[in-house]
Amino acid sequence: MTTATHRGWANLKVLRRLGAHLLLLIGASFFVLPLVFLVSTSLKSSRQIAKYPPELIPSPWIWRNYSDVFIYAPFQRYFVNTLRIVVPSLVGAAITSSLAAYAFARIRAPGSDLIFVVLLSTMMLPGVVTLIPTYIIFSKIGWVGTFRPLVIPTLAGSPFFIFLLRQFFMTIPMDLEDAALIDGCGRFRIWLSIMMPLAMPALATVSVFAFMGAWNDYMGPLIYLASRAQYTLSLGLQVFVGSHGSEWGMLMAASTMMVLPVIVLFFFAQKSFIQGITMTGIKG
């Protein structure tokens, strides 16, 4: 009797586990299959792409779509342009944001609480409300058509990064800092030589999100960049979609090239991604 019931329970458990896996697999295929098609289509001949019903596996495998992309658009230049925006934005993330974050976490000053509330509320501010005057100002000082509108504002740091780094600084024990203060160490030295080295994991997280923000940004480059020579990857890809919309193999090859660095980054910095999203709700 008891063994029978026991076996019954075990069976139920196995069934339930199988059911969970089945549901998860169905769900996962909705999320993963599109990306599989992205890569597989980029490796197909145009004849195979035109086949209906669509086939998943390329046959034959061809790499020509990738080289063709560079014939029709200067993707290497788009890549360099994107890096010219991405790299400086890391500075804003890692240095400026961390300075402010340290101040909010550790230094007491009149007005600091109020300013922190202001900072938090800007996290919920819809960006569109600042769009028009910012554009007008940049246009009047002659910055439209340069990378400056996309770079200079990021140097001021971002409320998301400041908040994330502040939360991290608050978890660092006070002892080290207290000892340094008693020894007459200034705040800047404490930030630079005690806090920054300890905050490396959090700095990695904000750098990852700064990279993602700049890499994926579409509206900024769309509004501020004027000539094709300045296009970033997202802008270049969009023009490519517009003019080669029917050459799917090439389009998927170009898209794959834009997606790949992001996915590689994810596999190297998985922890940073997860930590960043769970702490601030930034969704990449």
């Binding site: 669509p54 944001s97 007008i136 994810f266 709700g281």
Partner: protein, 311 residues
Amino acid sequence: MATRNISNRPRGVSQAKRDTLSFYLFITPWLVGFLAFTLGPIVASLGLSFTQYDMMLPPKYVSLQQYQRLFADPLFYTSLSNTLYIVALAVPTSMLSSFLIALLLNQKVRGMAAYRTAYYIPSIVPAVASAALWMYLLQPQWGVVNGLLRSVGLPAPGWLAARAWAKPAIVLVMVWGSGGTMIIYLAGLQDIPEALYEAAEIDGAGRWGKLRHVTLPLMTPTIFFTLVMSIIGTFQVFAVIFVLTDGMGGPLNSTLVYLIYIYRNAFVYFRMGYTAAMAWVLFMIILALTLLQFKTAHLWVHYEAERKPGA
């Protein structure tokens, strides 16, 4: 949010003064940016919304005329209702699916990390690439999605080419990229102390009872947070639709969302005063909705009672 962890050790007056100075020095870069790129432009855009300005002639004060024109503009209502449609469909769909996936993943299933990666990766795909990909997948005649639908005997809609299906198609693409919400839920679920489930079991709660009386109440702050942020974000959906519809919001304005209409007015027609009024109206709508959510939060969001230290 953690409480401020500041040492209470008495320090000299000079240290306090020095601290004030360092605090403001440290936040200066952000503060300058905030004044120049956030607060200044907010105020300026309000001012601008009372003017007529095309960036060539100086702005001309026109009182409330831009708002009057806006409220008489049929495309304003079209763009607003398209946006509301997408918010009303995309926000609950992605929150619910993310929550269900997170629940499944939280059951200590084998391969959890692999599943988590699979669900999350689409959310880091750049909007332009994701638009290009779905443009291919959603082709009405020979696309992969419709091929799949036909093979199981379901009708194959026209997706982005059909007025009635364009918005659901956009929502589909948005839900595909909603893995970030799932990660937030999963982290929230993993924070729920095991002891609470054990206590509920002792009280005779089954799976449903534990979900209803432990998981859901403890997850409400997380759900609240994602709700607020998703609504703000979805109201400003732009890149995916802009690329999918070549900047037009078609077919027949069926995906003309608020931000695409703003873009058109500002950067195609250069109606800066009008666009500023549009931006402020959207700002007010989002602000009102956000405040409404905060004001009604006490009705459903469960906050743990404050525990006083030493009590």
